[in-house]
């Protein structure tokens, strides 16, 4: 069904006409408005908070501080944990308050909440809240924070080290390194970025006193997942919280968990007996959304004298920010090392990752969540090896790829790849990119005064990592529609269309009677949210099973209706019939007739459920870039992505995900950069004026091709597509840029490739410094 003509998604009509319902489009009578007073410094003790002038301001209803939350029994914002090896260090998880108490740890941290009759009154009055601070020295760089004598953020995180995580086999790796013919080393800085869904963070908190129930209207990737975390903060049972959302304006991992403000508006609503709305701004997104990346990476590769990889080892320092974000442990460790040796046949390896506290925004999962860190490190290391050993970049890869006869292929840390065709994918990409014609194109660029570079990456990532079964409910409604309910909320993926397509395909009904309703009040369904590229793999598979269950249940009723034995009934294109006869009845007619008794659930209602294993999308990407040495401007001139994402359900949506992910990766490589001032801890790139988002002109000449190798790990054979583009784009573009700069003497360049940095690197290389734009170096330890 993949290449069927595409005529748009079911959700599109409302979205193109402005009738979508995003969080701030919900309108409640008698709403009060919240505005947050935020720390204007990065590290300080709070001496006192005086809200009296704000409270006296006409129209102000209340001012809440950390003390009010403590009095209400608020708990820490939660962190998702994972099973540990018995001898492993336990992560240190300091208390993360919704409003700062005692101390502020990042510029922008919420200190108080002013609630007023209008947003503008709340904004005005927030200026009248006087916070007296005792200023402390901030630390924003993770290596600085690890130094003895560095400012300490949390009393219970000595040395600012949240966690020292290890994966793989250290001793075995060291042994192989000891007898390697050649060891190649590479350092890189995977710099910090801000995720920036286009809908800023915002919410309305509504407490219903009659039901003692909290309703949070907020952007979300998974309403039940978010509700469970909010309930932990409020210290109430999960069922006491409903997260309600219809349309969510982007997520990319950073809308999966709740934010402090959400919990504060719920308490405020309870105290005031009115809905409390918070209209967050882009500036607040910059300062206090979960941010991403910020990994200092060191990789080493041991090879034999024929260029065959023997072992790899990595030492990585991750800047996790002032607090642990909910996904701040998982995405920064296990997600980084899950595909620890990539697409390469390397039996032994080891990785160590230190998670560090600094006075910066908390870091979380963001498009790729850890996997782009490893893909970038691995592919830059392999590129470095090819250069150091004077080997061809294709041949070094080809020689070391896992072969098709090696599946299932088990990595050192237990991750097991079930299937793939890495060499086939590579060959497709080489062909599509006219790999061998590059010299001609490079010469042509040179005639126009441009430096042309190109690079190839063979990446892999893991998806759908999930520890809990994902439920998919199919409910037959009185109006002749079928409702689908699950906790995986679309924030752009088009679930309304793709899940409907899966279900309608099995049931043989028109897609437009299948209605996805994921973020409604009262929905109680098990499973995680949208994240880790798992929705189609996991929820899609559960919907498929649920739909098959409907067909099975319907067979009994059809047998009754057609007066035949269930064994003689067959189902095809939405109709049951007695084999070999023309006696038939459609599923929907049956559903109308056999409704069950009033007040009871419809007898055809079904739930599909399953805990689907990790899948491994992979691909070969080839980019060519042109750099203007005079101005430092880099242009992406072509980008070929050949990806194995398993079976494709809706081609247009898959292509859209790839295009979006690739462009997000390109954004990071070409410009996006969250920079904190080392002395003051202030975010220097705090608006779209200083933070270059990818715009329409950034990526042209993009071609996305499929090379599907269906997995048997789920009934759809799908591998997940949400993040693959980003995972592939980072190393591909980074290596292409260095390739372009090498002829002018640059041997190392840390991203982003802004015109200024590229120009600087070229000038420095001319003056004899080929590594001027290298930010850090580490030693394996």
């Amino acid at each position: 069904m993949s290449h069927d003509a595409f005529h748009g998604r079911l959700e599109d009509d409302r979205m193109v006409t402005g009738s979508g319902t995003y969080t701030l489009d919900w309108d409640f009578p008698d709403t009060a408005h919240a505005w947050f007073v935020r720390a204007d410094r990065a590290h300080a003790e709070i001496v006192s908070i005086d809200a009296s002038a704000a409270l006296a301001h006409p129209g102000v209803i209340a001012v809440l501080t950390g003390a009010d939350l403590e009095a209400a029994g608020f708990k820490s914002l939660p962190v998702i944990t994972m099973p540990l090896k018995p001898d492993a260090m336990k992560p240190l998880m300091p208390f993360r308050p919704c409003l700062a108490t005692g101390k502020v740890r990042l510029a922008g941290e919420a200190v108080a909440c002013v609630i007023a009759e209008t947003q503008r009154i709340a904004m005005d009055a927030s200026e009248l809240v006087v916070v007296e601070y005792n200023e402390l020295q901030p630390v924003v760089d993770s290596l600085d924070a690890l130094k003895p004598g560095a400012p300490q953020l949390h009393d219970d995180v000595p040395g600012n080290l949240y966690w020292d995580y290890e994966d793989g086999d250290r001793a075995g790796t060291d042994a192989l390194f000891a007898r390697a013919a050649k060891i190649v080393k590479h350092d890189l800085y995977n710099h910090r970025v801000v995720g920036h869904p286009m809908e800023p963070r915002c919410c309305t908190g509504v407490y219903d006193a009659a039901k003692d129930q909290y309703f949070l209207y907020s952007p979300t990737q998974g309403p039940r997942m978010q509700a469970s975390m909010v309930a932990k903060v409020l210290d109430v049972p999960t069922d006491k919280v409903d997260v309600v959302a219809k349309d969510t304006g982007g997520g990319f991992g950073i809308r999966s968990a709740p934010y402090p403000e959400y919990c504060v508006t719920l308490l405020a609503s309870k105290k005031l007996g009115r809905p409390v709305r918070w209209n967050g701004t882009r500036s607040e997104v910059f300062l206090t959304d979960n941010q991403a990346r910020d990994f200092i990476c060191h990789g080493e590769l041991a090879l034999d004298d024929k260029g065959k990889f023997l072992a790899m080892r990595f030492f990585i320092v991750a800047n996790n920010g002032a607090y642990l974000a909910p996904t701040g442990l998982l995405a920064q460790t296990r997600s980084v090392t899950s595909c620890i040796t990539g697409v390469y046949d390397v039996p032994v390896s080891h990785a160590r990752i230190q998670l560090v506290a600094t006075n910066t925004a908390q870091v979380s999962a963001y498009r790729g969540a850890g996997r782009p860190i490893m893909s970038m490190l691995l592919e830059c290391l392999v590129e470095r090896a090819a250069i150091d050993l004077n080997m061809d970049v294709v041949e070094i890869r080809r020689k070391n790829l896992i072969r098709n006869d090696q599946y299932p292929y088990k990595l050192v840390n237990g991750t097991t790849y079930d299937c793939g065709d890495f060499e086939g994918v590579l060959d497709d990409a080489l062909k599509a990119a006219d790999w061998n014609g590059f010299d001609k194109r490079r010469a042509e660029s040179a005639r126009r005064g441009k430096l042309r570079g190109r690079a190839l990456s063979t990446y892999i990532e893991s998806t759908a990592a999930g520890g809990i079964p994902d439920d998919a409910q199919l409910l037959f409604e009185a109006d002749g529609t079928i409702s689908l309910k699950s906790s995986s909320h679309s924030h752009g993926q088009g679930h309304e269309t793709s899940f409907a397509q899966v279900v309608a395909g099995v049931l043989g009904v028109p897609m437009n009677i299948v209605k996805l309703r994921t973020g409604e009040a009262g929905m109680r369904v098990g499973g995680g949210g949208t994240g880790g590229s798992r929705s189609m793999v996991s929820f899609g598979s559960s919907y498929l099973l649920g739909a098959r269950e409907v067909v099975k249940k319907g067979r009994e009723f059809a047998a009754k209706e057609l007066e035949a034995s269930p064994d003689d009934i067959e189902f095809d294109h939405g109709e049951y019939s007695i084999k070999g006869t023309d006696r038939r009845i459609s599923l929907m007619d049956l559903a109308k007739k056999y409704k069950g008794s009033a007040g009871e659930p419809h007898p055809l209602n079904s739930v599909g459920s399953g805990k689907w294993g990790m899948t491994f999308p992979n691909g070969a990407h080839i980019a060519e870039v042109e750099i203007d040495a005079e101005t430092g401007v880099t242009e992406i001139v072509s980008y070929i992505a050949v990806d194995d994402i398993g079976n494709v359900i809706t081609h247009a949506l898959v292509e859209g995900q790839m295009q979006g992910g690739l462009t997000q990766g390109a954004g990071q490589i070409l410009g996006e950069h969250a920079i904190y001032d080392r002395d003051t801890g202030q975010l220097l790139t705090g608006s779209f004026m200083d933070y270059p988002m990818p715009r329409a002109g950034m990526v042209a000449g993009l071609e996305v091709l499929d090379h599907p190798v269906p997995t048997k790990l789920n009934p759809l054979g799908a591998k997940g597509v949400g993040e693959a583009g980003c995972t592939g784009a980072l190393p591909t573009l980074a290596n292409a840029i260095v390739d372009a700069l090498r002829p002018v003497g640059v041997t190392h360049f840390d991203m982003p490739a802004t015109p200024q940095r590229v120009w600087q690197a070229i000038q420095a290389a001319k003056a004899g410094n080929p590594r001027a734009l290298q930010t850090y170096t580490l030693e394996y330890a």
Binding site: M198, G250, A696
Partner: protein, 162 residues
């Protein structure tokens, strides 16, 4: 200080008392309850708030409502035909999968209609350049560019409402 503003929005005369500092986008969203126009930033960079004022695309977060006194404003809600038929630009965004989360879409559609007014048969490069003022985080723009190119061939693409 409250002031009275009067204008025509999607063909209807409207008039309200608002605070002087009320931005046009807030007037549209909060007073008129036309929530299709979105706010994505606070520095006039993202274009999510784009509407037409006297037939030209403007960022409605970047002027106060008073500046639109007497003006003729069209928002995304006023672009399709009264019978619900989508405008060719809306139809093209849908058919070319030019939207994912949809948050940028109203502003994109409004800018795109203005774009084809100014560049009747735009090249891909022109479209990419002219979209500079609109941010989309989801699509990578590729399908938006395709949609605009396709819609530009429709002879009614510059006509809104009706």
């Amino acid at each position: 200080m409250a002031v009275k503003v009067s204008m025509t929005v999607n063909g209807k005369a409207v008039s309200h008392e608002v605070e002087e500092r009320t931005l046009l986008v807030n007037y549209i969203r909060e007073t008129l309850k036309l929530t299709g126009t979105h706010v994505g930033c606070d520095t006039a960079q993202c274009g999510a708030c784009t509407v037409h004022m006297n037939g030209k695309a403007i960022k409605s977060c970047n002027i106060v409502a008073m500046q639109a006194e007497g003006a003729n404003i069209t928002t995304i809600e006023g672009v399709a035909k009264a019978d619900g038929t989508l405008h060719p630009m809306q139809q093209a965004f849908k058919e070319h999968h030019g939207l994912q989360c949809g948050f940028c879409t109203p502003g994109m559609v409004m800018s795109a209609i203005d774009l084809v007014k100014n560049f009747p048969n735009p090249t891909e490069a022109q479209i990419r350049e002219q979209l500079e003022g609109n941010l989309c985080r989801c699509t990578g723009y590729h399908n938006i560019v395709k949609a605009i190119k396709a819609a530009s061939a429709d002879k009614n693409v510059t006509v809104v409402g009706g």
